[in-house]
């Protein structure tokens, strides 16, 4: 007998502190009616790689099923909870869940196992009220768990998208803008892509100056035939033609007019108190004669709901430039950290992700909003 082999590993005090802090936070969610769920730990790695890109691969603990399918330990809860919801008989209807347990992300100098707690709400049609409730509950729970009110930052991907619509920004630039802004790059850096010179193929673009899709496609097909190239791989001649057309249209002059760019610049600079930001946004929309319509109404409504909940928020600031580089985040986004701890990492993050369910196989978008708290990033690793 070798009983020592069977003895449990001595509890890591830090993770124990996280656990008990987690229990306090979870209690808060249960009280609010969020049923506890514990989705599987193993998932197909492809799901996370598809949603977040290859960049997350180095963070994933990868393994394989007996049949060779690439699996990973869940790096977070939102996608696993959403999958469980979609597989349940509640799919499409209203369901609200909470969770507490380990997530796994490879990281140098750390075991890679962290405790997270959080909540997810599916199917509610009163989006702004749900946004405010999730935001407030998460912050209250984090305060209960860590003992210190957090400072929060809000953003609204819906507003940003609405602005790009109103400015009729070409599709190619919308993608670049959204991604660039999500990565914290300024407009200068986004518009002055060093590759613009190299991109241009003047001969082809000049030939396409006044061509339509069919004409451009015929030209591309001719070019391929002359060069004796078989169409191989992924993109059709039509798609290649469309990209040439897009480049030809962007070639003349600036990517967007100076006037619109100034509006964009002013929009992205708006930050501070959410109510004051709303006033500034209205002023900007009026002066530029832009209709931000329902997106701005929703923003104000949400601010109202958040203010009505009051609660354990040390400081809440809105930042128009705060968007995420995930296309399934469709609206409200937020994050929070311990303001008393210099260099603190985001301990709480969440947002509205109406687009996720469809990406996971649902036939339509399903309203969804949630938040996650990483317990060891709260004050004292979550110890009171």
């Amino acid at each position: 007998m070798t009983p020592t082999l069977l003895a449990p590993t001595p509890a890591d005090p830090a993770s124990q502190a996280s656990r008990s802090a987690g229990e306090r936070a979870l209690g808060h969610f249960l009280e609010a009616g969020f049923e506890r769920t514990e989705p599987p730990i193993l998932h197909p790695a492809a799901i996370f790689l598809d949603m977040s890109g290859e960049e997350v691969r180095r963070r994933l603990f990868l393994t394989a099923s007996a049949s060779g399918e690439e699996l990973c330990l869940r790096p977070e809860y939102t996608i696993p909870v959403c999958r469980a919801y979609l597989a349940s008989d509640k799919a499409g209807g209203i369901a609200e869940y909470s969770y507490l347990g380990p997530v796994f992300r490879a990281q140098a100098g750390h075991s890679g196992e962290r405790t997270q707690t959080g909540l997810e709400s599916f199917g509610r049609r009163d989006a702004e009220a749900a946004d405010a409730e999730i935001f407030a509950l998460a912050l209250e729970a984090a305060t209960a768990a860590g003992g210190v009110p957090l400072a929060a930052r809000l953003g609204d991907a819906g507003l940003f998208d609405r602005l790009l619509d109103a400015l009729t920004v070409p599709e190619a630039w919308r993608r670049r803008l959204r991604r660039g802004v999500a990565r914290g790059r300024g407009l200068e850096a986004i518009f002055n892509r060093p590759s613009q010179g190299a991109l241009a193929q003047p001969g082809v673009l000049a030939a396409l100056e006044s061509a339509d899709h069919a004409g451009a496609k015929a030209l591309v097909e001719d070019l391929l035939a002359i060069a004796g190239i078989d169409a191989v791989g992924g993109r059709s001649a039509g798609e290649i033609a469309d990209r040439f057309l897009e480049q030809a249209s962007l070639r003349s002059g600036e990517p967007i007019e100076a006037e619109k760019r100034a509006v964009l610049e002013a929009f992205l600079a708006i930050s501070g108190d959410p109510d004051e930001a709303a006033v500034e946004l209205r002023r900007l929309a009026d002066s530029a004669r832009l209709d931000l319509g329902s997106a701005l109404d929703a923003f104000e409504r949400r601010n109202g709901f958040i203010a009505a909940r009051g609660g354990a928020i040390d400081e809440t600031r809105f930042s128009a430039a705060f968007v995420r580089d995930f296309d399934y985040y469709t609206g409200f986004v937020f994050e929070a950290l311990d303001p008393g701890c210099p260099g603190a990492k985001t301990a709480l993050s969440g947002g509205r992700y109406d687009g996720l369910a469809k990406r996971l196989g649902a036939t339509d978008d399903i309203p969804a909003v949630g938040a996650a708290i990483t317990l060891d990033r709260l004050a004292n690793g979550g110890e009171r």
Partner: protein, 337 residues
């Protein structure tokens, strides 16, 4: 500091070299040129050998992938491996390994290649554009087939390309676009002929790595006195044979003051005096000079009054300064002595 095994229990110095194929042949030639003959154990299936003339060195004949993992784990002190594999397989290369010297064989480039039919795609910036449009249109990411998962991820991140997925491919990667398994590939290429045969083209700025066989030292291996002595010896010999290959010895008898002529020759032609600063009493000097500059130097010496200049090929040229070893010694922590 005593090693964990106690003093005097130091294991052999392990040199890991490829066990088969062209890399093995080239490595054997390279070491032989340095007077270091790889002696394989008797029998074709014996994977341990020795280095003729350098006792206490054990040669491990293993696969390229195994060499890299042994170096990373500290199971081998030196190894010969393609830089592509080293950079792909070892996280945090700079902290764990010292790339001592490129060996001049096994050249190949790791490149990003797209279908030739994508006539609108020439650069990584084009690819970024196309990849994000592809995702926006199809809701799926473009797939990149490769065995270089880490190199690809790093390179794409440097170029800001995010909308792609890697499909691991362990053979015939170049066929992936034609078979529909991926849209792009990242693969190794020497001439580009395989790419062309598969209707693919490398992107203009898509060279991820210009790789060649490299002599690599493990910083994690146990560096006791014996291992250090073996490393110093091996590197001195390699440096001596490389220096000999690069240089020629130029001999002449110079008129007085010969030492001034030598001084100027060293400055003007980057030569080194093999006989020290002072010429002998009869003005005999021997200079080591880069091959390409030998004729020029000879002409100049004749003009300075030498009657005859002879140029001699060198077998080995040892230098008091062992630069390769010095670079390594700086990286091995003294605590490991």
């Amino acid at each position: 500091m005593a090693s964990a095994f106690g003093d005097g229990a130091e294991g052999p110095f392990v040199l890991a070299v490829p066990s088969k194929g062209r890399l093995q042949e080239s490595a054997a030639v390279f070491f032989a040129r340095a007077g270091l003959e790889l002696v394989q154990g008797r029998g074709a299936r014996d994977y341990r050998g020795s280095l003729a003339g350098v006792p206490s060195v054990e040669v491990a004949f293993v696969s390229s992938a195994e060499i890299v993992s042994q170096l990373a784990a500290g199971a081998a002190h030196f190894g010969v491996a393609g830089e592509d594999l080293v950079r792909e397989k070892v996280p945090d290369v700079e902290a764990r390994l010292e790339l001592l010297s490129p060996l001049g064989f096994g050249h190949a480039n790791v490149v990003v290649a797209a279908p030739r039919a994508w006539i609108d795609v020439r650069s990584m910036a084009d690819l970024d554009d196309v990849a994000s449009a592809y995702r926006a249109k199809r809701g799926e990411r473009m797939r990149v087939a490769t065995k270089y998962v880490n190199l690809t991820r790093r390179f794409f991140a440097e170029h800001g390309v995010a909308d792609y997925r890697i499909v691991e491919s362990l053979g015939a990667t170049e066929g992936a676009p034609a078979s529909g398994a991926a849209e792009l590939i990242v693969d190794i290429t020497t001439t580009g002929a395989t790419l062309a045969a598969n209707a693919l083209k490398a992107l203009d700025d898509g060279v991820i790595l210009r790789s060649q066989a490299t002599l690599v030292a493990s910083l994690a291996a146990p560096w006791g006195e014996n291992a250090r002595a073996a490393a110093r010896d091996i590197l001195a010999r390699i440096a001596a044979s490389e220096e000999a290959r690069r240089s020629r010895e130029v001999r002449a008898r110079l008129p007085s003051p010969a030492h001034l002529i030598v001084e100027t020759a060293c400055e003007r032609f980057g030569a080194v005096s093999a006989t020290g600063e002072d010429a002998g009493p009869h003005g005999f000097v021997a200079l080591h000079c880069a091959r390409g500059k030998v004729a020029e130097l000879a002409g100049w010496l004749l003009a300075k009054g030498a009657e005859r200049v002879s140029v001699v090929a060198l077998e080995q040229a040892f230098d008091a300064r062992n630069a390769l070893y010095e670079a390594l010694e700086k990286r091995i922590s003294p605590g490991q002595r």
